[in-house]
C-alpha cells in the first residue's frame, strides 16, 4: 500500500530539490521514534495478512477477459464500515497501484490463540465476497499474481490506448488511465521514477522458447508507436519487453506483517525470515506469463525490481560517477541487503552502500551499527514523491519523511517502526510471497510462515546464511519450476546453543561443526521443507511445535490441510500455480506452441481459475481434495480462553495478597 498521504504532490523539478531535506528530516524522525519507543513492549504477538485482488470482466461472446477498472468506484463502499466504526470491522480495504486492484486485510490483527489460524481463510473468503458483491455482471474478483495479458492491446475495460508521448510512464503498453485515479501518489511515483532515471523503466523477461516460437523472437513494437530513438530502450531478442511501473506494481501479492514484542524481537524476526524469502517465493510461484507470452521464469520479483528502478545510468554503473553520489547495485525494489541484528553481523557479506552523514548521525544518537547501517542504506534513495502540505513537519512527532523513504524502499522484508501517536509496536513485513488462486492456498502459505516464526522463537533456531547466498537463492527461486529443479543455500544445523552474547555465539556454533566446515549447503525445496536423512525439515519443526500447544480439533484439521499442501508442493506431487498455468496453456487447443497466450486461452484459463477459487471446480493437480474447517466464528474458543484467564487472575490476585 505505501504511505497514502493526502494532498498535492510537487512536480519532479520541485521534488528533486527536496532530496536532501527529506533525507535529513527522515533521519531525524527515525532518531526520535527510536529514542521514544525503543523500549516499548507489546504484550501480544500480533500478525495479519494482506491480499491484493484483481478485478476482471469476462466477455463470453468474444471469449475475451479484461481487467476492469473499478477500484475507484467500489472502494468507498468497501471502506464504509471502517469509516463508520473503525474499531469493529471484520475487514479493511485500501487502494493499490492500479484501478483494477483492491487490497484487503483482516479488520483486527490475529494474535496468539491457535484458533486464529482457523480464521485466516474465512476472512480472505469474506473479503473476496465483499469485493465480488460490488461488481457487475460478468465481473469477478480473482487472486493471482499477474494478469496474463497485462499491457496487451485493449487489456482493460473500459478500453484505453497508451499515449507514450504524454503519459506518466511513457509506456508503449500501459495507459495512465489504468493507474488508480483517486490518489495522486501512484501517478506521481510513476512519472518521478522515470524522470529521475532519465529514461523509461525497462525489463526483458526471458521468453519460454517452444517448438514453434519464431527464432529469433523479436517483437515488432512499431505497432505500439515505438520509436527508435535514444530515449527508448530496445527489445532484446528472445525476451518479453516491459516498460511501465504498472506492469510491475500492477501485480498482486500476498504479505504477512508481524508485530513483535520489542524492537529486538522485530530485528530478530526480520533476520530469521530473510533466508526464507526465496523459499516462499519458489513455493508460491504464480507468474509464468507476461504481456501474453509464456516466460521462462515463474515469478514477478525481478520484474518488479526493474519496474520501479529509479537509478540513473551513473548509479547503474553504465556511466562513470560524476553527478551522482553512489554506484547503487540494486533497484530500490530488491532483495534484502543486510541483516539488522547485532548477532548477524558476520552474515552481511555484500557491500552495503550507505549515506555516510546519515550513518554518523544515527551512531551519534546511540543507534547501534547494524541498525544504523540498515537505515543509512535505505536513505541513499532520493524521495520520489513530496506533498506540499506535508513538507514542514514536527520531527519530534511526525514520521512522514521517514516513511517517505522507508515505504519507497521495497525489499523482501521491511522493518517498520511504530507510527507516531499509536500504541502499535515494532513490526516486520514479509513481502516476497506470490498470490495464489484460492483462499485455501493463500491461507496455507500465511499459516506456514507464522507457525514457522513461532517455532523459531520457541526453539531458538537460527536460519541465517550469508546475504550473498540469499541473493543467489532469490534468483534461483524465480527459475521455471524452481521448486522441482533448483537447489538453494540453506543452513544445515538450525539449533543453537543458548548464549546471549555476540562474541560467544560465533565460536560456540563453530564447535558444532568440523573445522572449516561450511554452515550451509545446497538443498532442494523438498529437502528444506520435508527433510531428509541429513536435515530435519521445516515441517517437522512445525509439527513438533504444534504437538506441544493445545490446539482444538477443527483448527488442527485446518492446519494439517495447509501443511499437507506445502509438503506436497515441495515434494512436487502438487503443482505450483505457475506450473499449472503453463500446463493449461500448453495443453489448450488454441495454443500454437509459439509462446503466445492469446485472448481465447487467457479467457479459458481465467474462467477456470474463477471456478476453482469459488469451489465450483476442483483442481487436483494443485489442491488437495479435502477442504479446511476454517470459520470466522471462534467465540467458543475465546470464551474458554477467557474462563481460564479469569481463573488465573483470581489465583494471582490471591497469591499476591498473601
Amino acid at each position: 500500500m505505501g504511505l497514502l498521504t493526502q494532498g498535492h504532490p510537487l512536480d519532479w523539478e520541485e521534488t528533486k530539490k527536496y532530496a536532501q531535506f527529506i533525507r535529513e528530516h527522515g533521519i531525524e524522525q527515525f532518531i526520535h521514534i527510536y529514542k521514544k519507543l525503543k523500549d516499548r513492549r507489546n504484550d501480544c504477538l500480533k500478525w495479519g495478512d494482506e491480499v491484493e485482488f484483481l478485478m476482471v470482466r469476462f466477455d463470453h461472446e468474444k471469449k475475451k477477459v479484461q481487467l476492469v477498472l473499478k477500484a475507484h468506484e467500489i472502494l468507498s463502499t468497501l471502506m464504509e464500515p471502517e469509516n463508520n466504526n473503525p474499531d469493529d470491522c471484520v475487514t479493511l480495504w485500501r487502494p493499490e497501484y492500479a484501478d483494477y486492484m483492491i487490497e484487503g486485510t483482516p479488520g483486527k490483527p490475529y494474535g496468539y490463540l491457535p484458533v486464529h489460524f482457523n480464521m485466516v481463510e474465512a476472512n480472505m473468503r469474506l473479503r473476496r465476497q465483499q469485493g465480488q458483491q460490488l461488481l457487475g455482471k460478468d465481473e469477478y474478483v480473482l487472486s493471482t499474481s499477474n494478469f496474463l495479458r497485462n499491457g496487451c492491446p485493449d487489456f482493460t475495460w473500459p478500453v484505453y490506448k497508451p499515449t507514450p508521448s504524454t503519459s506518466a510512464s511513457a509506456s508503449l503498453f500501459f495507459p495512465d488511465e489504468v493507474i488508480f485515479p483517486d490518489h495522486p501518489r501512484f501517478k506521481t511515483l510513476t512519472r518521478n521514477i522515470r524522470m529521475r532515471r532519465k529514461s523509461k523503466v525497462a525489463f526483458h523477461v526471458p521468453l519460454f522458447i517452444d517448438k514453434n516460437t519464431p527464432r529469433p523472437f523479436i517483437e515488432n513494437l512499431s505497432i505500439y508507436g515505438h520509436e527508435n530513438n535514444a530515449n527508448e530502450s530496445t527489445p532484446i531478442k528472445d525476451h518479453i519487453y516491459l516498460d511501465a511501473m504498472g506492469l510491475g506494481m500492477g501485480c498482486c501479492c500476498l504479505q504477512v506483517t508481524f508485530q513483535a514484542q520489542s524492537i529486538d524481537e522485530a530485528r530478530f524476526l526480520y533476520d530469521q525470515l530473510t533466508p526464507l524469502t526465496p523459499i516462499m517465493l519458489a513455493l508460491s510461484a504464480s507468474s509464468p506469463i507476461w504481456r501474453g507470452y509464456l516466460a521462462d521464469t515463474d515469478c514477478r520479483w525481478n520484474i518488479l525490481c526493474a519496474m520501479v528502478d529509479d537509478r540513473t545510468p551513473e548509479e547503474r554503473g553504465l556511466e562513470p560517477l560524476k553527478n551522482e553520489r553512489f554506484r547503487l547495485y540494486k533497484s530500490r525494489y530488491s532483495s534484502v541487503d543486510c541483516y539488522i541484528s547485532p548477532d548477524s553481523a558476520m552474515y552481511n557479506d555484500i557491500e552495503i552502500v550507505q549515506d555516510g552523514d546519515a550513518f554518523r548521525k544515527l551512531i551519534e544518537h546511540g543507534i547501534d551499527h547494524l541498525l544504523a547501517q540498515h537505515v543509512a542504506h535505505l536513505f541513499v534513495r532520493d524521495t520520489v514523491t513530496v506533498f506540499e502540505e506535508k513538507l514542514q513537519l514536527d520531527d519530534t512527532q511526525d514520521t512522514d519523511h521517514f516513511e517517505n523513504i522507508n515505504s519507497t524502499n521495497w525489499q523482501a522484508m521491511r522493518f517498520k517502526p511504530p507510527p507516531s501517536n499509536s500504541d502499535i509496536g515494532w513490526r516486520v513485513e514479509f513481502r516476497p510471497t506470490e498470490l495464489q488462486m484460492t483462499d485455501f492456498e493463500n491461507a496455507a502459505l500465511v499459516t506456514f510462515i507464522v507457525l514457522l516464526t513461532r517455532a523459531i522463537m520457541t526453539y531458538n533456531l537460527n536460519l541465517l546464511i550469508p546475504i550473498s547466498n540469499v541473493d543467489e537463492n532469490m534468483q534461483s527461486a524465480q527459475q521455471r519450476d524452481a521448486v522441482l529443479n533448483q537447489k538453494f543455500h540453506f543452513r544445515k544445523c538450525l539449533s543453537t546453543v543458548k548464549t546471549p552474547d555476540t562474541p560467544c555465539m560465533a565460536s560456540v556454533q563453530k564447535t558444532l561443526l568440523q573445522d572449516n566446515e561450511c554452515e550451509h549447503r545446497l538443498m532442494t525445496i523438498n529437502e528444506i521443507i520435508n527433510g531428509s536423512n541429513e536435515f530435519v525439515g521445516l515441517l517437522k519443526i512445525i509439527q513438533d511445535y504444534l504437538s506441544n500447544i493445545e490446539v482444538d480439533a477443527d483448527t488442527r484439521c485446518t492446519i494439517n490441510q495447509y501443511l499437507n499442501l506445502i509438503s506436497k508442493r515441495a515434494a512436487g506431487t502438487l503443482m505450483t500455480n505457475a506450473a499449472w498455468m503453463r500446463y493449461v496453456v500448453t495443453n489448450h487447443s488454441a495454443y500454437k506452441h509459439d509462446s503466445v497466450v492469446n485472448d481465447e486461452i487467457t479467457y479459458d484459463l481465467l474462467w477456470k481459475m474463477k471456478k476453482i477459487s469459488n469451489g465450483e471446480e476442483e483442481c487436483p493437480k494443485v489442491l488437495p481434495r479435502m477442504s479446511s474447517k476454517t470459520t470466522l466464528d471462534i467465540s467458543a474458543a475465546v470464551e474458554k480462553e477467557n474462563e481460564l484467564e479469569v481463573k488465573r487472575s483470581l489465583i494471582n490476585h490471591y497469591n499476591n495478597q498473601e
Binding site: 504477538l45 494474535g111 513461532r454 531458538n460 504437538s547 474462563e643 488465573r648
Partner: protein
Amino acid sequence: MSTEPQDDNQSKPEPVLKPFFPKATEILFYTGNTLALFELVKKANSSITDEVIEYMSLMLQAMIKNTDVKKYQEENYVKLASVQDDNNSAANNGTTAGVPIDQEQLTREDLKISVKVFLRSLAPEVLTHTINTVLNELKENYLESFMISLPNYGSQLTLQEFMPLWNIIEDFIDKQKILSAGVCDFMLPLLSDLYDRAKHKPYANQINLGVCCSIPEELNKYVKENNIQLLTHSDPIDVINESDFQQTIREYCHEYDALNWKPCSIVRYTSVIANRGIIKSKGFFIYAKRELRMTE
C-alpha cells in the same frame, strides 16, 4: 554380570559390576526443561516414546558419569533429575537465551502451564503422588491445565473405575492447585457419563490427530452443546511399556537395576508464554515402581 553395549556411538564405560540402586522400589526421572537440549538434526520422527527413552538414557549416563557409585545404594526412592549442567541456568529458569530479546525475567503470571499424565495404573495413590511430585519439582502453586490419559484402558474403561481418579483431580481443583482439567480419547457415552457425574466438569477432551478431520457427528454435537473443547494429540496408546523401560535401564546399568520395574505414570508438561504462543519449557516425569524379592 556385565552389561552388553548395544550401540557404540559413545565410548562405552567399563562393564558394570554392581547394581547402582539395588534397594530401589520407586524411581523418578525428571528431565527439567528439555528445550535446552532440542537437537534438530537427530531423529526425524521422534514420538513421545522415543523422547522418553532418549531422556532416560541421557539421565542414566549422566548419573553414571557424575555420581558417586555409593549414592543410591541404600535408597528406596531414586530420583534422577535434569540433564543440563548448572551453568545453563537460563534454561532452567525457562527464560529464552539466544534470542536477544526480553531481558526481563518472566513472572509466573506470564506463563501457562499444561500437564498431561499418562497413567498406567488405576491406583489412586499413584495419581496423587504424581500430581504432588509435579507440583513440588516444578515448584509451582498451581497448574492451568491438567489432562489425564489412560491408554491401556481406553474404550473398556468404566465410569466406576475412572471416578476415583477424577475425584482426586477435583480435590486438587478445590484446593486451586489445578485450574482446569480434561480427559483424553473419551468417546460417548463415557464422556457424557463423566460430565453428568462430575462436580468439576472436564474442560476439554483430547482426541488423536488421526481422527481430527473425521470426528463422529454426535460427539461433535455433544461437546459443542456442553462447552467442552475438543483438543488434539498425536501420542501413542501406551507411552512406554515395562519391557522398553527395563531395557533402557539395562543398557546403562546393572541387570539387577533394571529388574521388575513397572512404569506407573509418565507426565509431559509444557509452559507457554501466556499470550504469545511461544513455548518456554517442556519436560517429562517418568515414575515407576517395582517389587523386589527380599534378599536372603
